[in-house]
């Protein structure tokens, strides 16, 4: 039997000499193709004696496998080299700007409304709504503000036009969110827990006032809800809303026609270097008005004041947004200045939640 060693070496050398995929294929066909040298030799095995066939066959198989492996390896290494060369040519400037994508924002009023809603929802308060054009009954009379009440004059009310011949008192743009209390009580009866955020309107425009702003109203009526519950609820709210470990509230006797007793609520704070810090310091900041719902108001809402009692409060959404996020000017809230919207706005994904926190 011939020595197969030179044959093997010859093919391996040719594989090494091939420098592109076409040459590799040529070698493969010449060695292992149907009419390739190795294939032909293997065909000759049939003419050999069994003993010869056994030894030569084994050796040929070995060489065939070896050549096949060498071909594959060579092919792979050539491909790698080609890829390397291609990658070297495929350099791009990664410092170019990315493809533009618009960044939207959520207005602070919406964000803060969501924050307040998240906190009160956890305490079992639903969100009630009501019309912004209101009858004077809902805006005033039902809230224990009789036509001659001085508070009516102090509300700087916007009145809607009345067509000639329509003798009803003119409707008003609601001056507060309190009429929603009445509507919610009429709709749901007692017990009830709602908050009512929304737009309110007063005829006032200067450095710190806009003719439209936002309030949030809270109402909780049950058999034995007291002012002490009110205080706790507001303490919890302020602690959660301002995201501080603790807050201190001061209830000051005051007067609102729709609550009795009434209290203005101040929160302990400091103003160091113009920076407001809630929960510490020696200053007090008035943040909301509150009280126990007046029996006349409960009656207007169709609830028996001898059976039910509870609290109500109201605060400015814009105001608490300004306090929490350090936004200086109320008027800018409604100017839609793109620079302001981008600076003070929130990302779409910043959904306030009790579990994840209110702000980032």
């Amino acid at each position: 039997m011939d020595d197969l060693t030179p044959l093997r070496q010859q093919w391996l050398d040719r594989i090494t000499a091939a420098t592109d995929p076409a040459a590799i294929e040529e070698v493969r066909l010449a060695a292992l193709g149907k009419k390739g040298e190795i294939s032909l030799k293997m065909r000759e095995l049939g003419r050999m004696s069994p003993e010869e066939r056994q030894t030569t066959g084994k050796a040929l198989n070995q060489i065939r496998d070896e050549i096949d492996a060498a071909l594959r390896a060579r092919k792979l290494s050539l491909e790698d080299a080609a890829l390397d060369a291609r990658l070297r040519d495929e350099w791009l400037d990664v410092t170019l700007p990315s493809r533009p994508r618009r960044q939207g924002t959520i207005h602070p009023i919406s964000q803060v409304t969501d924050e307040v809603t998240a906190i009160f929802a956890d305490m079992g308060f639903a969100v009630a709504e009501g019309p912004q054009v209101e009858s004077d009954w809902y805006n005033f009379d039902a809230l224990n503000i009789a036509p001659e009440h001085p508070a009516r004059q102090e509300h700087d009310t916007f009145f809607m036009h009345r067509a000639p011949g329509d003798d009803r008192p003119p409707h008003v743009l609601r001056t507060h969110t309190s009429p929603v209390q009445i509507r919610a009580m009429q709709d749901q009866g007692a017990p009830i827990r709602v908050i009512a955020p929304g737009r309110v309107y007063r005829m006032d425009m200067d450095q710190t006032h806009t003719p439209m702003f936002h309030q949030i109203e809270g109402l909780a009526i049950d058999r034995d809800i007291s002012m002490a519950h009110l205080k706790w609820t507001l303490e919890e709210f302020c602690r959660a809303f301002f995201e501080v470990p603790s807050v201190e509230l001061r209830f000051r006797a005051s007067h609102f026609p729709f609550t009795e007793p009434s209290a203005e609520v101040d929160i302990r704070c400091s103003w160091e270097g113009g920076q407001l810090k809630i929960g510490e310091g020696n200053s007090w900041l008035e943040i909301l008005g509150s009280g126990m719902v007046h029996p006349n108001v409960l009656r207007a809402g169709g609830i028996d004041p001898d059976q039910w009692q509870g609290f109500a409060f109201g605060m400015g959404i814009d105001r608490i947004a300004m306090l929490k996020y350090g936004i200086p000017d109320l008027r800018a809230f409604f100017e839609s200045d793109l620079r302001w919207l981008r600076h003070y706005g929130f990302a779409a994904g910043d959904m306030p939640s009790v579990s994840g926190g209110l702000s980032r």
Partner: protein
């Protein structure tokens, strides 16, 4: 309401400090707005004694003094003529702030001689205008604080002024006496009673009084009397000081007395010069055309029906608001008619509003003064007039009758505690009411005549709680309405609003909050601006009508931003729009507006003008997010502010869910917005809500068989809509055709025709499709499209 501490102490026996009083007032609901304490600026100054004084070697007018201070002897150079050995002076040391010269002292060198401080004049300490020399005190020890010396020897010089805010329900606190009563109830002292010793009249009142029957309701009671032979002139110093301290200008004794009682006892009065009153006084309604020159020398046309006090010559005074100039008391007055009356709050307020006069009298009458104090007030005033101006008093004349204010409410001490959430012993509750002037008869509390605001049991609770101090209230946890994890509370529409808002922001829009009212012109461009939505008293013509739509506000915002140099914008707003002026005529919408270019200039050529397909993509994304059905129709029954050819409504039959497209170029021009501008509006409540709410998804329907896609290009007329073509193709075999999508459009063929290319995806269900079957479906697609659109397969 302003008063001074010493004035308060005329009514309140107290040892409380200014701080305690101020804190209590705020806590009681009489919110302190300002405390002006002259002593606060003087705290650093101490007393010193001049031991030796000699001529300054280099200055004629200066003296070099050796001064004994609490820190030993100091050398001070002084220019005052009275600086001499032996006098007790007020010392300002280096480091002290001297208010009258607005300077913080340092160690100085005056003409070569060191000076360690300053001996102050009254003007330098802002105590008076006195500046002829330094203060010489008749007593006092070296080192004693000057404020302490003043407090003992001249408290009036550092009398603090307190300014409190009075809520409309507390007319009783518009007099110093009423404020003292609140403080006494709080336990800060004892209220000094007001003692009234009537002055007997020594002659009949020469001026009679009647109330015209028509105004008896507005002016129920009027009383007065003449004091003749008075000498009117400047009022005494104490009275002038008191008035000045609260910002009033002293005029003459008679007028100052009326102002004093207004603030001291909340008892407004008026004084007429009796010599200038012709005949008797009649209270009647003003007639049309009548005028009065009031005490402020302005001429007021009198509102018809407002109560006026007239003599034979006509109106002399506007009841409860302001007197007339002609009959006012002057220094020449010798006979004075003092008026004390009770006028109805509502009619006084109405007249005051019509006249636009804000006087101290009106402020009090419209809130409700104490009717029962009318005659006692007149007696006190008479006495003071006689004390200060001399004279002789006539008998009192009256007209009408005082209203009966008697009423009583049940005090339920347990209910008080239950409402307030604070345990207040019954005895304390009763004691509080009694100090406030309530008369307790068993469990009935009779309301004092000076508290018109107390109108029910709840008001008793408020009085008790406020005196007990709400500051002491301890919070008590509010139990959850039901135990366990809170239930969701938002309504489906509220959830939808939240989703729509967050989706719009995620799509790159900046949320705006614009005013609910806009100008009439802009409102009219969007189908509004009618009288039904007109605000009767707008704050400006830019805010006269409720908005019919969100787009005008966004377009105005865009115009403002463009004026600032921001040309490319993506703005949205979610909020109410108003279709009418009734409480129900309100709906919530979301609108988006894209203006200018879709992207800034960049190396990839991303920049291009926004077009309606951008708006369409965004509106579809939001609709999908809020769960709108995916198969809606598109129609062109457009409102006038959309481009008639480049906008569409997304609708379910007649129910329009949303509109998208280009804003009408005319609207852009009128609103000063540089286009292009495209936008969308979604009627959030119009999108149907799911009938059944279940978290379960329908089963996923997957086929094992390979889907087949076939492309077709049709030549159609230019205004054939792609959706018509797509729907026709999809209808060719509803079972087999899973989807049809447009992947190309080519316009500008012969005859203006266009080509639309669609891809039809067929999904076999039970066996692989044969070529013949696919061919059959394709033929049906071509037929259907041809029937629906007249289009032919492109060769």
């Amino acid at each position: 309401m302003k008063f001074t501490l010493s004035w308060l102490k005329e009514h309140l026996e107290t040892t409380a400090t200014l701080e305690q009083i101020a804190e209590a007032l705020t806590d009681l609901g009489l919110e302190v707005e300002e405390v002006a304490d002259p002593a606060a600026r003087l705290r650093t100054f101490t007393l010193a004694r001049v031991e030796h004084a000699e001529q300054h070697p280099d200055a004629d007018r200066l003296r070099v003094c050796r001064v004994m201070t609490d820190e030993g002897e100091k050398q001070i150079v002084c220019g005052a003529p009275n600086a001499r050995a032996g006098i007790t002076v007020v010392l300002a040391k280096p480091g002290d702030y001297v208010p009258g010269i607005d300077t913080t002292l340092g160690v100085g060198k005056i003409r070569g001689i060191e000076s360690h401080g300053m001996m102050a004049s009254e003007r330098e300490l802002e105590l008076s205008e006195e500046h002829d020399g330094i203060i010489e005190l008749p007593s006092g020890e070296v080192g004693q604080r000057f404020v302490d010396w003043l407090a003992q020897n001249a408290p009036e010089k550092i009398d603090p002024m307190i300014h409190i805010k009075i809520t409309p329900n507390r007319p009783d606190a518009l007099g110093v006496h009423g404020i003292a009563r609140d403080l006494a109830a709080r336990g800060l002292g004892v209220l000094k009673p007001v003692t009234v010793q009537p002055v007997p009249g020594s002659f009949p009142c020469p001026i009679g009084v009647t109330i015209d029957g028509g105004v008896a309701g507005k002016a129920p009671f009027f009383a007065g009397r003449v004091v003749r032979g008075v000498t009117n002139g400047p009022s005494p110093v104490w009275l002038q000081k008191r008035l000045r301290a609260i910002g009033l200008r002293p005029i003459n004794a008679l007028v100052d007395i009326t102002n004093f009682f207004t603030f001291d006892l909340n008892r407004p009065l008026h004084v007429f010069d009796a010599a200038k009153v012709s005949g008797n006084l009649v209270l009647r309604g003003a007639c049309a055309g009548e005028e009065l020159v009031a005490l402020d020398d302005k001429t007021y046309p009198l509102p018809e029906g407002a109560v006026v006090i007239c003599d034979d010559g006509g109106p002399e005074s506007i009841a409860g608001i302001m007197g007339g100039a002609a009959s006012g008391a002057s220094e020449a007055t010798t006979d004075v008619f003092i008026e004390a009356a009770y006028f109805d709050p509502i009619s006084t307020a109405a007249a005051g509003r019509a006249l636009k006069i804000n006087s101290d009298a009106r402020y009090r009458f419209e809130r409700g003064i104490d009717p029962a104090f009318t005659l006692p007030g007149l007696e006190l005033a008479t006495r003071m007039v006689m004390d200060l101006c001399g004279g002789e008093a006539s008998e009192v004349v009256t007209a009408g009758a005082l209203p009966d204010t008697g009423r009583a409410y049940r005090l339920d001490p347990q209910r008080t505690s239950r409402l307030v959430g604070m345990d207040i012993p019954e005895a304390d509750q009763r004691a509080t009411l009694e100090v406030l002037g309530f008369r307790l008869d068993g469990d009935m509390a009779h309301v004092p005549s000076w508290r018109p605001d107390v109108l029910g049991e709840a008001d008793l609770v408020e009085e008790i709680a406020r005196i007990a101090s709400l500051t002491k209230l301890q919070g008590k946890p509010l139990p959850r309405p039901r135990p366990g994890v809170p239930q969701p509370v938002l309504t489906p529409l509220q959830v939808r609003e939240k989703t729509a808002r967050r989706t719009a922001a995620a799509l790159g829009y900046n949320e705006c909050v614009t005013y609910s009212f806009i100008d009439q012109t802009s409102a009219a461009l969007f189908g509004g601006g009618t009288d039904a939505v007109r605000v009767d008293n707008p704050i400006s013509s830019e805010m006269s009508h409720l908005r019919p739509d969100l787009l005008p506000g966004l377009l105005q915002a865009a115009a403002r931003n463009q004026a600032r140099g921001f040309a490319d914008l993506a703005l949205f707003e979610l909020g109410p729009v108003f279709s009418g002026g009734e409480p129900g005529d309100q709906a919530v919408r979301i609108s988006g507006l894209l203006v200018g270019q879709i992207a800034p200039r960049d190396p990839f050529g991303s920049r291009r003008k926004v077009d309606l397909y951008d708006a369409k993509a965004d509106v579809e994304a939001i609709l999908q997010a809020i769960g709108a059905p995916s198969k809606a129709q598109i129609n062109r029954k457009l409102d006038g502010w959309w481009h008639p050819g480049r906008a569409g409504n997304i609708a379910l039959g007649p129910n329009v869910l949303a509109t998208f497209g280009e804003v009408h170029p005319k609207v852009l021009r009128q609103m000063d917005v540089k286009g292009p501008a495209v936008g969308f509006t979604i009627q959030l409540a119009a999108v149907p809500f799911p009938k059944v709410k279940t978290p379960t998804r329908p089963a996923l329907d997957l086929s094992e068989l390979q889907a087949v896609e076939r492309d077709f290009a049709f030549v159609v007329d230019p205004q054939v809509e792609a959706l018509t073509l797509v729907n026709a193709a999809a209808g060719a075999d509803k079972a087999l055709i899973q989807s049809v999508s447009v992947f190309d459009q080519f316009t500008g063929l012969d005859n203006g025709q266009k080509s639309i290319a669609i891809s039809v995806r067929m999904q076999p269900r039970d066996k692989t499709l044969t070529d013949a079957e696919i061919e059959a479906v394709a033929r049906k697609v071509v037929d259907k499209v041809q029937k629906a659109t007249g289009g032919t397969l492109r060769g």
